[in-house]
């Protein structure tokens, strides 16, 4: 390989010794202190109701959503969205928390997570982030990353009590429950979009045209959802 490691680091060190003439004096903190302390910067204020803030942000991101009290209501919401978007076959992430849901016989659902063939997919988010209206999805054997991107329609189930406040809460959760980090952690905020043609927004550029979130108040087993199966 043509590796310039010594050259680049040497040049950086020489530059730092020299100092940018007009550069602001560095904060007194050392890298060690910063990496240990993880100082948190300013956070946008959230409304009094975290879930309402989350669903407001979902609306703003052009995602659609349903709130389900039970798993029965949740699978019914999935069925309705699939039907209204013209899909009779669902491909779901092969995840125990999804398999154990009370799927009605009227729903044709495969748990094999072959994303390449999925046009309407069902998957499970590990967290919701109220601040941004994002879903946090981790690459795992049960939840392949491509399932989040290749289908036309993505239906995402999320335990209501897995909605956290800010990005920082998500980072903390990842360190506590997903360490070392999975290959890919996707923060998905609304359907795919582009404004590259005359700056006019079009949904469904390369990823899903429709993102529907089903918030499930009870019965979607968060503890299973939160463990790498």
């Amino acid at each position: 390989m043509h590796d310039d490691r010594a050259n680049v680091l040497g040049a950086v060190r020489a530059a730092l010794r020299q100092g940018g003439a007009q550069a602001a004096p560095p904060a007194p903190e050392t890298p060690d202190e910063r990496l240990r302390g993880r100082p948190t910067g300013p956070q946008p204020a959230l409304g009094p109701d975290r879930i309402a803030h989350f669903t407001d942000q979902l609306d703003a991101s052009a995602a659609t959503w349903t709130r389900a009290r039970t798993t029965t209501e949740a699978v019914e919401a999935v069925r309705q969205v699939a039907q209204s978007s013209g899909h009779s076959e669902l491909v779901a992430a092969d995840h125990p928390s999804l398999r154990m849901l009370p799927w009605p016989s009227a729903v044709s659902i495969r748990f094999d997570a072959r994303a390449q063939e999925a046009r309407c997919a069902v998957t499970l988010a590990e967290l919701g982030i109220a601040e941004t209206g994002s879903l946090l999805l981790c690459a795992s054997p049960a939840t392949p990353t491509l399932l989040n991107f290749l289908p036309d329609v993505l239906l995402c189930l999320l335990p209501t009590d897995a909605v956290v406040g800010h990005l920082e809460d998500a980072w903390r959760w990842l360190r506590a429950h997903r360490s070392p980090l999975p290959r890919a952690v996707n923060l998905v905020t609304g359907p795919s979009r582009t404004a590259d043609v005359e700056q006019r927004l079009q949904l469904g550029a390369h990823g899903p045209r429709l993102l529907h979130v089903v918030l499930v108040d009870s019965g979607l087993d968060a503890s299973i959802a939160w463990r790498r199966p």
């Binding site: 390989m1 043509h2 590796d3 310039d4 490691r5 680049v8 680091l9 040049a11 950086v12 060190r13 730092l16 100092g19 940018g20 007009q22 550069a23 602001a24 560095p26 904060a27 050392t30 890298p31 910063r34 990496l35 100082p39 948190t40 910067g41 300013p42 204020a45 942000q57 991101s61 997570a113 690459a139 054997p141 491509l146 991107f149 290749l150 990005l167 920082e168 980072w171 990842l174 070392p180 980090l181 999975p182 290959r183 890919a184 952690v185 996707n186 923060l187 998905v188 905020t189 609304g190 795919s192 582009t194 404004a195 590259d196 043609v197 005359e198 700056q199 079009q202 550029a205 390369h206």
Partner: protein, 472 residues
């Protein structure tokens, strides 16, 4: 692509005369700025975030060697590889070698400005690979054989009809492309097969996280994730200034990035990539390579232009620049346009090549006012002008005028006399209208506007009179 920054003046004239370009610019004019303003107004914490972001970048830059080494250690611990490139040529060689190792044919690419900077597409094509841009805007300019004209909206200079013509010429399909929807759908369709058949995926990075060895990438289309997940190898191209200490720090910058760029609160897809696929993963690349590119950045770090390394490539300075708004990106002649480009291009290619760029600014200050990391762009532009003058590179005419002015300014009485003569002459020429339609020697300037005439006396004279009035 070769720089044409040296012929900036000609580029500008061509851009102003290009009616298609002016139509495209008119159509999008103000859109980004309005959306940004709304996003900033909706976030009372914006200024506090700006201050925090600046502090994060300054801290990281002051310890850049340590954070880069920390990042490298973590990438390696996660099963990835870090490559270091001192120059654009070195970065190209590394990428080509990695593609050869993978036995690649087709190489998909997410949008990467460093990739443009090192001209990776041309190098890939010359080495026998097929580079495919996957961001719709980048794909359009790739088909057109052009550079992006905006760092976040690469095809902003193209009208819908231009794009439809390009698609018809390259896709060989006979579909109606009479709406933006139809164009996007055709691109999605054509690109899907290319995503699935790619051997290597190249993306940029918005941030590198030292603490976890992660790469943070934002896109709205989802093309970055498909590029990074489908092929056998994911190569990340990143400037060395992209590193931040922790995910918390990346989060602060993310709160500013999309709001400053498109006015979105958050980009549709924000992904944290860490290492290659795990043994039991169902998808993802087997190899994860990060190429850290210096290409002039360490020199900036040790110079009076260090603050430029705070840049997070949001494009806000372009969207608020009256010069950019009039001529668009191609006139700047290289990869980085607008105020940030007018600083970066001379630093990367030299003032001899890009000496006109720092002068192509009214120094109105909007760029600094909207910069999410508070880069003092007008100050840096002025500093480049100073260097240009000190090195004897300023144009002869401007040197003569400045020398004349300096000679006068050092002789206050003479200065007052000459200026008094000048303002009286201009006021007399302007007559009762108070405006001049034509000024000898400035025909270009007055072609599209009138010169307001001075008030008939110099500032110093007015000041003296006012003081005398007060004394009475």
């Amino acid at each position: 692509m070769r720089s044409t920054a040296h012929s900036f003046r000609n580029n500008v004239h061509a851009a102003l005369r290009d009616q298609g370009l002016q139509r495209a610019l008119h159509r999008v004019s103000g859109g980004f700025a309005d959306k940004r303003r709304a996003a900033v107004e909706a976030l009372p914490e914006f200024e506090a975030l700006r201050a925090a972001a600046r502090a994060i970048k300054d801290h990281t830059l002051a310890h850049l060697d340590e954070y880069l080494e920390c990042f490298e250690t973590q990438v390696v611990a996660g099963g990835g590889t870090v490559h270091w490139a001192a120059s654009a040529a070195a970065a190209r060689r590394i990428v080509i070698d990695l593609c050869r190792q993978s036995g690649a044919r087709r190489v998909t690419k997410g949008k990467t400005m460093v990739g443009e900077e090192i001209a990776i597409n041309r190098a890939l094509a010359e080495a026998g690979f097929e580079p495919v841009e996957t961001d719709l805007g980048e794909y359009i300019v790739q088909l057109a054989g052009e550079l992006p004209s905006h760092i976040i909206a690469p095809a902003i200079h193209k009208t819908r009809a231009d794009i439809a013509d390009l698609f018809r010429a390259h896709h060989g399909r006979q579909r109606e492309l009479d709406s933006a929807r139809a164009i996007v759908d055709e691109a999605r369709d054509v690109m899907r097969e290319r995503f699935l058949s790619a051997d290597v995926g190249i993306t940029g990075a918005n941030f590198l996280v030292a603490d976890s060895g992660s790469v943070v990438l934002v896109t709205n289309e989802g093309n970055g994730d498909l590029t990074a997940t489908l092929p056998q190898r994911h190569i990340v191209l990143a400037g060395i200034e992209k590193v931040v200490p922790t995910l918390e720090d990346a989060g602060i910058l993310l709160r500013l990035l999309a709001r400053s760029a498109t006015g979105q609160a958050f980009t549709a897809y924000t992904t944290v990539f860490t290492g290659p696929r795990r043994a039991d993963d169902r998808d993802g690349p087997a190899a994860f390579d990060v190429v850290l590119v210096d290409n002039g950045r360490s020199a900036m770090l040790g110079s009076e232009y260090r603050e430029m390394l705070r840049c997070i490539r949001c494009g806000a300075c372009l969207n608020h620049c009256p010069v950019y708004g009039a001529v668009c990106g191609h006139a700047y002649g290289w990869v980085y346009p607008g105020p940030m480009g007018s600083v970066l291009t001379p630093l990367m290619l030299g003032l001899r090549e890009a000496g006109d760029l720092p002068n192509a600014s009214t120094l109105c200050g909007r760029c600094e006012a909207v910069c999410p990391v508070s880069i003092p762009l007008p100050t840096l532009l002025r500093r480049l002008r100073g260097r240009q003058h000190a090195e004897g590179q300023a144009p002869a005419a401007s040197r003569r005028v400045l020398a004349l002015w300096a000679a006068l300014a050092r002789r206050p009485r003479l200065y007052g006399f000459v200026m008094g003569l000048g303002v009286r002459l201009l006021a007399a020429l302007a007559g009762r209208r108070g405006r001049l339609r034509r000024v000898p020697g400035a025909a270009g300037w007055t072609a599209s506007r009138d010169l307001p005439a001075p008030a008939g006396q110099t500032f110093q004279a007015a000041w003296r009179r006012q003081r005398a009035d007060h004394a009475r």
